[in-house]
């Protein structure tokens, strides 16, 4: 940058180059635009393309990542103890040698510090010993008064384990059965109950799970057709009996492998899936009976499954007519009452039967009609066998054997269908229900009758089966996607409370009495009606809802109609009369005449 001074002294840099080295100078001139290339759009090319409405294409210039979950191998751990050997002896002393050890000990005993220390310690210790002997500071003063632990905490239940169906195609857990002795093993029956939804590659297996190991089933049971129900033999914990989808009964012995030891013949079995099978109380411990929607209840001896030992057709007409038989969907048997059993049917009726009846007609004793839909679960209260619980449609009902007209207690209509229920084996007033929205409800009827005491959402899909273990604390429920969840109930709901039995007995008695009174009243009313309608058939035959013949109904309807028409016409006439009175007498008369003729 040249400096500008007064004298205009500029620092100038001179750069010289020969003109010839520059090259020719650029001579620019203007020229009009010249079209060089014109590529016209060719519509025919457009036919080769399909017009796509605006497309969204996302691009991201970043590294490709993927999320992946890995489950590590199960860590196998083993507990063992270590026995440590004597040590601490100085190198020259062999602990095994008695002489050397004695000599060493004697040497130590002569040591100054030993003597002093021991004397000191002796006095301290004597003081403690004397203290102990003087007063027992840990004495229990109020041993006799048992503190009533009123657990103020709200009831809870926690999930311990979930056992999932290891197969790709998930099936519903339709039945669960606890191992009779320990509750360490749980047998689960898997099948797909939805009509024609079974795929070809659906596995037929059912599993026995060890409660501690949810990763892998302990044992597989391989039936010829998926099992709908499965029960451990309460007398022999190695044997199980299962009812399958095609109606056959299969018998397993877990010591003999996964294949059934015996299978009932197809011709002699049920024609429909076997929904429930229960072991009976018998000397041999090999009797069971099963129920299915084909309307039959069959008795079997598992040693010879080729044909059932007994057959009962659930015909309400007591004629053994299979066409009119009610489809059985649940079964109930209490070993304390071995001659009676109950069957819950698809039609919502519970049939009470007597096994020892001579003729098939007498086998069906009575029916209880209560539900709008199939009675999915049926169980007597283990403490009050006269009362039983049924579940079907959207309610759970408690019945008393004596009252056949209606249940003595019932829950209000729930938001979703109830699929299974059972009483708690420990507390007479507690029962469990599962619903199709995946909720497990625990009801304590001494505490609250309108709502469940505890309501737990176990999973998102529907729950189909439920079983409480004999200790009352563990509950297993099975879902539609093959997951069996094991829950532990808090001690408040699984320990017998004071006076519970007497309070519940009083409640049942009260409700039963109420129903009896209502029943008696109903009967009275009906009798009165009948006698009254017999006396007065003509007059007002339709005041109460008695039996009316169609003719009477038609006559009544006609009378009603014409009387209404008549009143309306009369009203109109009167109105017109009033208006015309102002107009004049003659016109009035005319109108009257007209009205009379037109009637």
């Amino acid at each position: 940058h040249p400096l500008h001074s007064e004298t205009e002294e500029q620092i100038v840099h001179v750069y010289t180059k020969l003109r010839a080295e520059f090259g020719r100078q650029c001579l620019f001139s203007d020229r009009p635009a010249e079209l060089l290339v014109d590529v016209l759009p060719d519509p025919s090319l457009g036919l080769q393309f399909i017009h796509k409405t605006p497309r969204d294409q996302a691009l991201q210039a970043c590294r490709d990542m993927s999320e992946h979950q890995v489950n590590t191998e199960r860590f196998e751990s083993d507990s063992c103890g270590i026995n440590h050997v004597e040590g601490g002896w100085p190198k020259d002393v062999n602990p095994q040698e008695m002489e050397q050890t004695i000599r060493f000990r004697k040497k130590v005993e002569k040591d100054e510090s030993y003597i002093n220390s021991t004397l000191q310690l002796g006095s301290v210790m004597e003081h403690c010993i004397r203290q102990n002997n003087a007063v027992d500071i840990y004495q229990e003063y109020f041993e006799d008064e048992e503190e009533v632990e009123e657990s103020q905490e709200p009831p809870f239940a926690k999930t311990i384990n979930v056992f999932r169906d290891p197969n790709e195609v998930k099936r519903t857990v339709t039945c669960l059965s606890w191992h009779p002795d320990s509750g360490r093993k749980l047998a689960a029956a898997y099948s797909c109950l939805e009509f024609q939804k079974t795929s070809k590659d659906m596995s037929l297996d059912s599993y026995i799970w060890d409660v501690e190991n949810p990763n892998r089933p302990e044992m597989t049971l391989k039936p010829t057709s998926p099992l709908v129900c499965l029960e451990y033999n309460p007398k022999d914990s190695h044997t199980l009996v299962g009812g399958s989808y095609n109606g056959q009964i299969a018998y397993w012995d877990t010591r003999r492998g996964s294949q059934p030891v015996e299978l009932s013949s197809v011709e002699q079995s049920h024609r429909d899936p076997v929904y429930k099978i229960i072991w009976l109380q018998s000397k041999t411990g090999t009797d069971a009976f099963s129920a299915s929607t084909d309307g039959q209840v069959l008795w079997w001896d598992v040693r010879k499954l080729s044909e059932p030992t007994e057959r009962l057709v659930l015909d309400p007409g007591r004629e053994g007519n299979l066409d009119r038989a009610l489809g059985a969907i649940s079964l109930e048997f209490e070993s304390t009452m071995p001659t009676k059993f109950m069957v819950g049917t698809e039609q919502g009726v519970v049939v009470s039967c007597n096994r020892k009846a001579k003729t098939p007609a007498e086998k069906i004793v009575c029916t209880y009609d209560g539900h709008h839909g199939p009675v999915y679960a049926l169980q007597r209260n283990p403490f009050f066998p006269k009362n039983f619980l049924t579940v079907g449609d959207w309610t759970a009902r408690i019945w008393s054997e004596d009252i056949k007209e209606s249940s003595i207690m019932w829950t209000k209509y729930q938001m979703s269908y109830l699929t299974d229920a059972c009483w708690s084996p420990v507390r007479p007033s507690v029962f469990f229900t599962v619903k199709m929205d995946g909720v497990l409800d625990i009801w304590d009827i001494l505490f609250k009758q309108n709502d469940p005491t505890l309501s737990l959402k176990v999973c998102d899909e529907a729950l189909y089966s439920l079983r409480v273990q004999d200790n009352g604390r563990l509950v297993a429920c099975g879902s539609q996607q093959g997951g069996a969840t094991l829950l532990e109930i808090c001690s408040g709901l699984s320990t017998l409370q004071k006076n519970e039995k007497s309070l519940l007995a009083a409640m049942f008695e009260r409700e039963t009495k109420r129903e009896k009174i209502l029943e008696a009243r109903q009967r009275e009313i009906r009798l009165k009606e009948r006698s009254r309608s017999e006396q007065s058939r003509e007059e007002e035959g339709g005041r109460e809802e008695g039996e009316e013949s169609p003719d009477q109904l038609i006559a009544r309807a006609e009378n009603n109609f014409f009387s209404v028409v008549e009143t309306e016409l009369r009203r109109r006439r009167e109105k017109e009369d009033e208006e015309n009175r102002e107009k004049g007498v003659c016109e009035e008369k005319e109108v009257k005449d007209e009205a009379e003729t037109s009637q």
Binding site: G87, V108, S113, I115, L121, S123, M125, E126, I129, N133
Partner: protein, 96 residues
């Protein structure tokens, strides 16, 4: 020497005392009226516990020191007193 004997005998004579063990710094039972294997077991196990208890007490207050560690179990009471590296263990059954 005789005093030590006398002291220990007096302790053993008290009501309810089941056993006595004197343990040296290496964990070797010097004098005991129980059988050897039991004595060795008690000595080995209680030594560690006592040292831990002692260091706990001294961590809380360095001026403080452990005098006696008493373990009351369902069946009896174990009392351990450390002194100068030695341990005196007494097992007593405070009978009711």
């Amino acid at each position: 020497m005789a005093e030590v004997e006398e002291t220990l005998k007096r302790i053993e004579a008290h009501k309810g005392v089941i056993g006595t063990i004197v343990v040296n710094a290496e964990g070797i039972p010097i004098r005991t009226n129980l059988d050897n294997s039991t004595a060795v077991q008690y000595a080995g196990l209680l030594r560690h516990l006592t040292m831990l208890a002692r260091s706990t007490v001294r961590d809380i207050d360095p001026q403080n020191d452990l005098i006696v560690l008493r373990i009351r179990t369902k069946k009896y009471e174990i009392m351990v007193a450390p002194e100068n590296g030695f341990l005196l263990i007494v097992i007593q059954n405070p009978c009711e």
